[in-house]
């Protein structure tokens, strides 16, 4: 799951995740999506950019 807040500054970033994921999967440039969502600092941008969602990978082994 995406961390709720940015590790460095504490801004809530997880509320953008569903929207971000949908738009990036639709082929938009991640940088343009983050600019549009108002994520300006590089600490917050790396939270979304570098996140790997593992819920679907782990759930069969519950």
């Amino acid at each position: 799951m995406i961390p709720v807040r940015c590790f460095s500054c504490g801004k809530v970033v997880s509320n953008y995740w569903v929207d971000y994921k949908k738009r990036v999967e639709a082929g938009e440039n991640p940088a343009a999506v983050m600019d549009d969502l108002g994520i300006t600092r590089y600490c917050c941008r790396r939270m979304l950019l570098s996140h790997v969602e593992l819920v679907d990978v782990l759930s069969p082994y519950q």
Partner: protein, 264 residues
């Protein structure tokens, strides 16, 4: 003391605070980060959790969700005049959550016992439940201070810099300073280099232009009694209320100090 607001939205603000000393500007910044009490989930009674994340991880995720805080109706638990720290409606709020998969559980699914206290953002994903997975819990939120945990920190990326002053004299318009400026705010005209009034605030006082200038025509300094503040709120207060509450906290402390000195 003068305040000149440059930008003000619900969650962020930018303003110039002038005719104050550095100590005062810094105390406002520190109060916004660590001394304004907010509500955050402190205990979670987890009755059922068959999701992919552990109970501890779940409690951490819940605690980091900012809750819209009413500073008038709640007090920090350690200082609660009614219960003395045991927990009562004056110092705590209960939020319950029960969900069954498949589907994502969001912060808006939590049901608060006080309708005024709600998650600041409704679309924070808590956990992704698969088919047959269940989540039943009750969470208790307390008032607390940012200095104790990040979950109670209302001010995000609060910072200030001194108001820059750039003076340009006898410029030969060589253009080296303009190409070196990382902010790109220096413009070259026939009469020499210029910086517009609104661009001046973007100057980071890096002094690269000063170093590049061979004839020392450009001088960068800063105003020691004017500060450009940038701050954001996590949503528990509006940006405006957060600054006002920070000022109230400092005022309260100063009054407390006067009271102690009087008793000596």
């Amino acid at each position: 003391m003068e305040v000149d607001i440059l930008e003000l939205s619900d969650r962020s603000a930018k303003f110039v605070l002038s005719n104050v000393r550095t100590a005062f500007a810094n105390s406002i910044r520190r109060a916004m980060i660590s001394d304004v009490p907010t509500l955050a989930i402190e205990y979670a009674n987890i009755y059922d959790n068959t999701s992919v994340i552990y109970d501890e991880q779940l409690a951490l995720r819940l605690s980091l969700i900012p809750l819209i805080t009413d500073i008038e109706s709640y007090v920090p638990q350690a200082r609660c005049p009614t219960c003395g720290g045991e927990g009562c409606p004056v110092c705590e709020v209960s939020l319950s959550l029960s969900a069954e998969g498949p589907g994502m559980v969001f912060s808006r699914d939590m049901i608060s016992s006080d309708p005024k206290i709600q998650p600041a953002d409704g679309n924070i994903p808590i956990v992704d439940l698969k088919k047959g997975q269940k989540l039943v819990l009750e969470a208790i939120a307390h008032m607390g201070y940012g200095k104790d945990s990040v979950k109670w920190q209302a001010g995000i990326a609060c910072g200030y810099k001194n108001m820059p002053i750039v003076s340009i004299e006898n410029c030969d318009a060589c253009g080296k300073c303009a190409s070196e400026c990382p902010k790109g705010i220096i413009h070259i005209e026939e009469s020499g280099a210029t910086i517009s009034e609104e661009d001046l605030i973007k100057c980071s006082i890096c002094r690269l232009c000063e170093r590049m200038c061979e004839i020392s025509a450009i001088k960068v300094s800063f105003n020691e009694s004017a500060f450009v503040f940038t701050m954001e709120s996590d949503g528990s207060y509006s940006a405006r209320d957060l600054v006002l509450n920070a000022a109230k906290v400092i005022k309260g402390r100063a009054e407390e100090l006067v009271g102690i000195l009087d008793r000596l």
